[in-house]
Structure formats: C-alpha cells, structure tokens
C-alpha cells in the first residue's frame, strides 16, 4: 500500500499549504521582532509544522479542542485562526485575538476551540484534561489534543493528568512535541528514558512513537488515537519526534547543538518531505508548489500589514477582561 493511499489530493495540498503559511508567518514574525514590532518571549515553530498540521487535519474542530504551550503561533493558524489576528496579537494591537493582552505566548480563539497558548511549562496539561472531562461528561464525541514539549513531560502536572484521564476514560490525546531540547537542555540530560512512549504503560494507555517530520505519519497516528478516544474514551500518549530550527526563543543563540544535527533535520524538512511525496505521486507540479509558496508569503505579508496598521488598544482596556 502506498503512503498516500486513501488521501484525496485536496486534503494533501491543504496540509502542504498550511505548513507553508506557518513557515512564512514565522519568518515574518522573526523579521518584525528584529524591527522591535514584537517584544518579549517569541518562540518560533519553524521545523515543527508537520506536527500540528498533521494533527489538526485529523480532527473535527467543531467538536474537538486544542491546547498547547507558548510555541503556539502554528497551532493558532492550524486551528483556522486568521494569521492577521495572530500577527496583530504579536504586535500587541487591539485587533489581536487577545486584544493585545496576551502576546506571542497566549493565542486564544474560543470559537475555534483553541484554548491557548500557555506560558507555564506543563500548565495546559491538566486544563486540556479538564476539557476532555467535559467531552466525556456531555458525551460530545469530541477529543482534546494536548500539545506540550519534551521538557514539560517531567512536570507532575503531566503525570497527575495522565492518571486521571486513564481512570476516568477521558478522550484526551497527549502529544509530546519532542524537539529534542527544552531550552538548552537535551532530552537525555534530564530524562530517565529517551523515548516517552514507555510512560504510557504506567497509565494503562497506548504509547506511540511518531516521526513528526512526516506530516502524513502524524496525521495517521492522530487519526488512530482520535478514533479510540472518540469510541472508547481512552486517552493516548504520542512521542512525536521533531526539531526546532531556531533557538528556543529570540534571545537564544542555540550553541548547545551542532550545525550538523540541525542540517540533518533540515534534510527531512516536513514541507520538503510532503512536497516530494506529492511530486512523486504527480499530485502537484513544481509550478503549483511555487504558487502555494507565493500565496503563503502573501498571507504572511498581509498579516504583517494588518498588524502594523491596526490601532493600539485603548489604555483603559487594561481594566477589562479580568472578571466575567
């Protein structure tokens, strides 16, 4: 069976397009950061696009939910948020998704079921488990995707949540975006095991290792986990191996890793890999790819223009959005 069997061309091209938009968006964000249009912590997603795009493609965002950490621009865009409001939030503008109050680490869109954007390592894990509790409680048939990093899995928050999800049959999928580093710390320096799938066993759930550089593999793994979660309410843990091309945040020169290692992962770039698969299957041409990329660049440019032209939030609005 071929890798792309069962996929419609449109679906695959949409994944390619989404990854390109995220990549070009992040490049624009980096540029704007250099121009001091964006401040503070800004964690870019370059290299990891295949993870969220493959995952969200397996969801039905009408009933499913997504939560992640601070490296969240890609997740926001993947859930269907307009890149314009994401960029405007980075610029701290009134038109940003969080009205300029959240910034880079706190992208939210309640209607799109994107529940953030959390700055505390591991902070979203129990919360995501709680969203899945609602899904069990109300029998919505939905699942919740809970993204977090290889660094976050050592927080008690993960271990307490995983046990709760298992004993209460909660439809939550824990996705470790294992980019091999938590800030400057390589996984093996702070973890008793290098592959996290083994941790699932202790909570009586399925654990799977996934190649996050391959969007199709991610898609299939999430599809499978989502089906089990929907039908049986069983949670799952996926150790998705990926890589971040940039430093941890804008201020990190990333001296703790080698150029060779970075290059090795760039050779398996998720965008390039899907492009090659699609070329081989004659589902796209080089020209079509160029068009998609041009479109992605235009979307990123428009997002930046929108953010730039948007007004500052009124100062008085700082007293709003504190209590419901």
């Amino acid at each position: 069976m071929g890798k792309l069997d069962g996929y419609k061309k449109d679906q695959l091209v949409a994944m390619l397009r989404d990854m390109l938009i995220i990549r070009r968006f992040e490049e624009k964000a980096a540029q704007a950061y250099g121009l001091k249009k964006i401040g503070g912590f800004c964690h870019l997603y370059n290299g990891q696009e295949g993870v969220v795009v493959g995952a969200v493609a397996a969801l039905d965002m009408k009933k499913d939910y997504l939560l992640t950490a601070y490296r969240d621009h890609g997740h926001a865009i993947a859930t269907g948020m307009d890149p314009k409001v994401v960029m405007a939030e980075l610029f701290g503008k009134e038109t940003g998704c969080s009205r300029g109050k959240g910034g880079s680490m706190h992208m939210f869109d309640v209607e799109k079921h994107m529940f953030g954007g959390n700055g505390i390592v591991g902070g979203q894990i129990p919360v995501a488990t709680g969203v899945a509790f609602m899904q069990m409680y109300k029998k919505t048939g939905g699942v919740t995707l809970c993204f977090f990093g290889d660094g976050a899995i050592h927080q008690g928050a993960f271990h307490e949540s995983a046990n709760l999800a298992s004993i209460w049959n909660l439809p939550v999928i824990y996705i470790v975006e294992n980019n091999h580093f938590g800030m400057g710390t390589a996984v093996k320096r702070v973890s008793a095991v290098e592959d996290f799938d083994v941790k699932a066993k202790g909570y009586n759930m399925t654990g799977t290792t996934v190649n996050g550089m391959d969007v199709i593999e991610v898609h299939q793994a999430i599809q499978k986990a989502a089906e089990t979660a929907r039908k049986e309410g069983r949670p799952a843990l996926l150790d998705v191996k990926t890589y971040r091309y940039k430093g941890h945040s804008m201020s990190d020169p990333a001296k703790y890793r080698t150029k060779e290692e970075l290059e090795e992962f760039k050779q398996q770039d998720p965008i390039l890999m899907l492009k090659q698969d699609l070329l081989k299957a004659e589902m796209i041409t080089e020209k079509k790819f160029e068009e998609l990329d041009k479109e992605a660049k235009a979307i990123a440019n428009q997002a930046e223009e929108f953010a730039e032209e948007s007004p500052e939030p009124p100062l008085e609005s700082r007293f709003e959005d504190i209590y419901a």
Binding site: I38, G39, G40, F41, E89, G92, K93, S98, G100, K101, G102, G103, M105, H106, N118, G119, I120, V121, G122, G123, G151, A152, H154, Q155, G156, A157, G182, M183, G184, T185, R189, V190, S191, Y256, E312, P313, L315, S317, R318, F319, I322
Partner: protein, 326 residues
C-alpha cells in the same frame, strides 16, 4: 572600587560561599551547562562540577522539595527558579515544608536554604511571566524575604542568606541583572533585616525595595528641584522588616509614600502603610500614600504594561499630594 553588574555580584556571592563551605550547592533549570537563563551562575559548573551544580529537569515542585530535604539533612542548597513565576509550582514545598519544619519538629530541624530568581514585572511578557509575588511569601511565618536593589547589597545579602539557617526567599529582577554598581574586592556581608537610608531629607519619606528604588532616586531628584527634600529608604529585607528605620524617618518628615510593585490587596506595601499609620499616627501630617501596581493582571501591550506599574511620575505626584503642594 570595581564596578560589577548585578548578575556578577550575585555569582561572586555564590562562588565565595561555595568555596567557603562545601555543603553549599546550586540547583535549577539551565544553571549548569547553559550558565543560567540570565547567566547568573556562569562558570560555577566549570569550577565546582556536579553535584555542587545540578541542572534539573523542568520540575519545580520536585527539585524544590528535594532541596528542602537536602537542607533538613544538613546541606545548604541554593535553588534557582528561572523566574519567581515558576515558584508557584513549588509553593507547597516552600510553604508547607521549608517554612514549617522547624516549628513542627519543636525546634529540632532547621532548613538552611535560599530560593533565588527574578521576580516582578519584566517587559512584553503578559500575565503569567510578569508578576510581583513577594507579598505571597512575606505572608508566611518561617520564611525570610530579601529584595536588594543594587549589586553591593545583592552580594552582601546573598552571602548572608546562604549562611542563614532559615529558608530565605531571595528576590532579583530580570530588568536589573545588567545594572552596575560598586562592589569592594574584600569580603563583606550585608545583614538580613536592616533597611538603609539612601538619601536624607526632611520633607517626606519615600520607601521601597528592589527594582523600584531606581525610580525613587529619580523622583527624589525631581522633588528636590521643586523644593521638596525627600528621605529615601531602601528596605532591602522585607521579612524581618526593619520597622525602626522606617519610623525614625517618618517621625522626622511626618509624611510617607510607600512604593511597591505588588498589587494593592494585602501586599507588602499595604502592610507597611498600615504599620506607619498605626505606629506614627501622632506624627503624620497626611495619610500615608501607596504607589503600587494596578489591581489587574499584566497586559502584553507595552503602553498598557507601563501604565499599570509604579512610575517616577506617580511617585512624584504622591509625594506632592502628601505634602499638599499639588
């Protein structure tokens, strides 16, 4: 005297105490190979190796509690929290264990441990990463809370904190790690629990600690230009509080403005205001003023985040208010 950056003064303090006493060790996220997220522990791993310098997983509750246990058993840990925002994950170990063990064991145990890291508003970080949490810790009997504002005090106080037999919350600030100041080459200590009068004046007392001290100096200068001589007090230690230095000054100036990055409700600032109002009542010519952060979570937008914090303008205005020269 040589000029040192705050981060280097802090590192010197740890370095000197580590070579003086091999029970002293440092642990936290990125403190070793990465030399610290803010480079405060630079070079310590190279010099002392493991287990004197330990890079931890991101597991604040676990490694903080581990350090508490090590302290009870005779070591002297210096725990670095990458920022105090993340200390909230370890709150239980600090409040229920570090602060209580001495009392609950009827004086048998002691917990010589320092918890250090940046606290208070930084820039462009929104609500979870830009909080002043000192009031939370100052509330807890059994803890000491130290908050220096310059490299000299930072070094002297950190050395005293490491030698102290009690848990000490040591508060730094992301925004002032690069700030330089004179630090003598010879060894010295700054005692915990002593405030310092950093500027003498007769008309109004300005009181603060930590990063806002920079604003107090500027405010005092602006006030002087307008004929108001401010006396400026740097508390340096929040708990135990040097009440005497505060009262002596207020009894002289008859007016006080307390400046605090905390939120107003049940804060260090509001507590100091209450103490002055109660203990200097007969000397006061005006109600004590509090300049603090507004009662809102920190917004990301820069104009808004500046608006919610104390500022030189707000301090000057408050000082003129209590002087009735508005």
């Amino acid at each position: 005297m040589p000029e040192l950056a705050m981060r280097d003064a802090l590192r010197q303090a740890m370095d000197e105490e580590m070579s003086r006493d091999d029970a002293v060790f440092v642990l936290g996220e990125e403190v070793g190979e990465y030399n610290g997220a803010y480079k405060v522990t630079r070079g310590l791993l190279d010099k002392y190796g493991m287990p004197r310098v330990m890079d931890t997983p991101i597991a604040e509750l676990g490694f903080t509690g581990l350090a508490v246990g090590a302290a009870l058993a005779g070591l002297r840990p210096v725990v670095e929290w990458m920022t105090y925002n993340f200390s909230l994950l370890a709150l239980d170990q600090v409040v229920n264990n570090a602060a209580k063990m001495r009392h609950m064991s009827g004086g048998q145990l002691k917990c010589p441990i320092v918890f250090r890291g940046p606290n208070g508003p930084a820039e462009f970080l929104s609500s979870q990463h830009s909080q002043a949490l000192q009031s939370l810790y100052a509330h807890i009997p059994g803890l000491k809370v130290v908050a220096p504002s310059n490299p000299y005090d930072a070094k002297g106080l950190l050395k005293s904190s490491i030698r102290d037999d009690n848990p000490v919350m040591f508060l730094e600030s992301e925004m002032t790690y690069g700030m330089t100041g004179e630090v003598p080459e010879e060894e010295y200590l700054v005692p915990i629990g002593e405030a310092s009068v950093v500027r003498e004046g007769s008309d109004v007392t300005l009181i603060s600690y930590s990063k806002p001290m920079l604003m107090l100096h500027k405010a005092a200068e602006q006030l002087a230009e307008q004929g108001i001589e401010a006396e400026v007090i740097d508390l340096r230690t929040i708990r135990p509080l040097d009440e005497e230095t505060i009262y002596n000054s207020v009894k002289k100036t008859n007016r006080a403005v307390v400046v605090d990055e905390s939120w107003p409700f049940a804060s260090v600032g509001s507590h100091v205001c209450w103490l002055i109002s109660r203990n200097c009542f007969d000397y006061l010519d005006a109600p004590v003023e509090l300049v603090c952060s507004e009662d809102v979570p920190m917004p990301y937008n820069h104009n808004m985040e500046l608006a919610v914090q104390p500022s030189v303008e707000k301090i000057v205005k408050a000082a003129k208010g209590v002087s009735y020269t508005d």
